[in-house]
C-alpha cells in the first residue's frame, strides 16, 4: 500500500511524519538535530530515501545533513557556501552598500532526476549547486551577479533566496525568488538570469512597477503546466500564464491577500491553496480563524476551508515553505504553523486534522508520496 512521508523543519529540530495511504494514523520520528534550526528538508524525486536537510544555528553556523534511508540516519556533508569571486555589495536596510554575507540555507531543491544533484537557496541571496550529494557546493554566480544585484535589499526576514523551481519540461529552466528582489528565471541551467516581475505592483517601493525590488513570498507550479506560475507576494496573489513573462492579480475575493505559502493540487492544475494572513504588521489569521483558501478556478474565486481548523483564538502564522501536497489519488495537503501544529487533509482540503500539535515553530513542510 502506498504511503506518505511528511518532512517537517522547525526552530528546534526536524521531524519525519509517516503514514500509510489512508493518512489516518501517523508515526512521528524526531526531533532529529534537536536544538538546531531546520529551515528546510526535502527528498529527492529520483530516490525517495535520499533526503537533504539544512541545519543551522546562530552559534555554530550552517550544516547540511543527508540521509540515504528516508530519514532514519543522517550524515553531515559539505557546508562551505563561499560566494564565487569578489562578493560585492547589495543595499542594506538604510540604503548603504553592504557586503554579501552568507547567513544560512533557506531552501534545498533536489534535482528531478539525479539524487546527487541538489540546489541551495541561501541568505544573503545566492544560488548554490552540488553535484556530489552535498559534499561540495558551487555558486551559480549569474543570479547574484545580475546587474540589479547591487540594488537588492533584504526583507524583514533577511535577503533570502527561498524558492527554487525546476521546470520538468525544459531542462535548464529554473525559477528562483528572492525577498525582497523578486522572481528570476534562467533558461540555461542557472548560468544567466533575468527578472520576471512584469505586472507586479508593490506599494511599499518607490516605483511600484519596478523591474526588481518586489517582496515575493513564494512561487508554485504544477509540473504538468510549467508555464503557469502562481505567486504569493507580500501583498497580492498573482498568476503568470507565460512562465513569468507577465503577471496578473488573482486575489479576487480573498479576505486579505497578504500571506506566505501558496501551493497547487497534485492532480488539478487550476486548484490553488493559500493561507491568508491579516497583514504585514499582524502576522496571524484574520479574526483569529485559521482558514486555508482554495480556488478551483486558477484564482479570483476562493472558498474558505475550515473543517477541523481552529475557528477562534488562533494567532499562528504559516510560513512560506510550510505547505506541501502529496500525489495520492485523493490529494493530501499539509501545512505547519508557528504554533507547532502540522495539519493534514486527505481530501484536498475539505477537512483537516492535526498530525501533531506541539512541535517547535514550524519553518517548513514537504510531502513525499511513497509507492
Amino acid at each position: 500500500m502506498s504511503g506518505v512521508r511528511v518532512l517537517v523543519g522547525t526552530r528546534k529540530g526536524a521531524f519525519v511524519l509517516s503514514s500509510d495511504g489512508k493518512r489516518e494514523q501517523w508515526d512521528v520520528s524526531g526531533p532529529h538535530f534537536p536544538g538546531w534550526e531546520i529551515y528546510h528538508l526535502k527528498g529527492s524525486p529520483a530516490d525517495q530515501d535520499r533526503l537533504y536537510a539544512s541545519q543551522s544555528s546562530g552559534w555554530f553556523g550552517q550544516l547540511i545533513q543527508r540521509s540515504d534511508d528516508g530519514g532514519a540516519t543522517w550524515e553531515p556533508v559539505g557546508n562551505d557556501f563561499s560566494y564565487q569571486g569578489e562578493p560585492g555589495t547589495h543595499q542594506w536596510y538604510d540604503g548603504t552598500p553592504h557586503p554579501w554575507e552568507f547567513a544560512r540555507v533557506w531552501h534545498l531543491e533536489p534535482s528531478l532526476d539525479d539524487p546527487d544533484t541538489v540546489y541551495a537557496g541561501v541568505e544573503d541571496a545566492g544560488l548554490f549547486r552540488s553535484a556530489d550529494g552535498g559534499q561540495h557546493w558551487q555558486e551559480l554566480p549569474g543570479l547574484r551577479g545580475h546587474k540589479s544585484g547591487p540594488s537588492w535589499q533584504p526583507g524583514a526576514g533577511g535577503m533570502c533566496l527561498h524558492t527554487i523551481i525546476l521546470d520538468p519540461s525544459a531542462p535548464g529552466r529554473i525559477f528562483a525568488a528572492i525577498s525582497a528582489a523578486g522572481a528570476f528565471r534562467s533558461d540555461d541551467a542557472g548560468q544567466t538570469w533575468r527578472p520576471v516581475n512584469h505586472g507586479l505592483l508593490s506599494e511599499g517601493i518607490p516605483d511600484p512597477g519596478a523591474e526588481v525590488g518586489h517582496c515575493v513570498h513564494r512561487l508554485a507550479m504544477h509540473p504538468s503546466r510549467p508555464s503557469v506560475l502562481y505567486m504569493q507576494k507580500h501583498w497580492d496573489v498573482m498568476r503568470s500564464d507565460d512562465a513569468g513573462e507577465s503577471w496578473h492579480e488573482i486575489s479576487g475575493d480573498l479576505p486579505t491577500d497578504f500571506g506566505f505559502p501558496i501551493d497547487v493540487h497534485a492532480h488539478e492544475p487550476e486548484t490553488v491553496y493559500v493561507v491568508p494572513i491579516t497583514s504585514d504588521s499582524h502576522h496571524f489569521p484574520p479574526e483569529g480563524r485559521l482558514r486555508v483558501y482554495r480556488s478551483r478556478t486558477g484564482g479570483d474565486e476562493w472558498e474558505p476551508l475550515t473543517k477541523g481548523l481552529p475557528q477562534e483564538h488562533c494567532y499562528v502564522n504559516v510560513l512560506r515553505d510550510a505547505m506541501a501536497v502529496d500525489s495520492l489519488d485523493s490529494c493530501g495537503i499539509y501545512f505547519g504553523t508557528t504554533g507547532g501544529q502540522v495539519y493534514a487533509s486527505s481530501d484536498a482540503g475539505d477537512s483537516w486534522a492535526p498530525i501533531v500539535r506541539d512541535l517547535p515553530a514550524v519553518l517548513s513542510v514537504e510531502a513525499q508520496t511513497l509507492p
Binding site: G35, S57, W59, F60, Q62, L63, P76, N79, D80, S82
Partner: protein, 104 residues
C-alpha cells in the same frame, strides 16, 4: 608558554559533541606548537564535520558566539597563532570551546 605537545584535551560544547559523535573530552595529537590554530587544525582533521562550526571556512576567524577558555582565562581574543598555556599543551588542563551564553 610552550613548544610541542603530548596530547591536548579539548572540551566541546554539547551540540558539537553530538555532531562529532563523541562523549566527554577529545584528546588530540597536535604537531608543532600548540596554538589555537594548530589545535583547531587537528580537531577539524579528525572531525571534518566540525569544519565551519567553530571558525569561518575562508577567513579562519572565530565565529561570533564561540569562546575559547583555558586555565581560567578567556583566550578568545588571543591571536590564533599565539602559544596556548603550558598546562594545555601538556594535557594537564583542557582547552574549552564554549558556545557563548545568549538567546532566550
Amino acid at each position: 608558554m610552550t613548544g610541542c605537545a603530548d596530547v591536548v584535551r579539548v572540551a566541546l560544547p554539547a551540540h558539537l559533541r553530538t555532531l562529532a559523535r563523541v562523549h566527554g573530552e577529545v584528546e588530540l595529537q597536535v604537531t608543532g606548537r600548540v596554538t589555537q590554530c594548530s589545535v583547531l587544525d587537528a580537531l577539524e582533521a579528525r572531525f571534518p564535520m566540525l569544519c565551519g562550526t567553530i571558525r569561518d571556512h575562508q577567513t579562519g576567524k572565530r565565529r561570533a558566539f564561540i569562546r575559547f577558555f583555558a586555565c581560567e582565562q578567556d583566550l578568545s581574543h588571543e591571536r590564533p597563532d599565539a602559544p596556548l598555556p603550558e598546562a594545555v599543551a601538556a594535557g594537564a588542563e583542557p582547552y574549552l570551546i564554549v558556545g557563548a551564553m545568549a538567546g532566550g
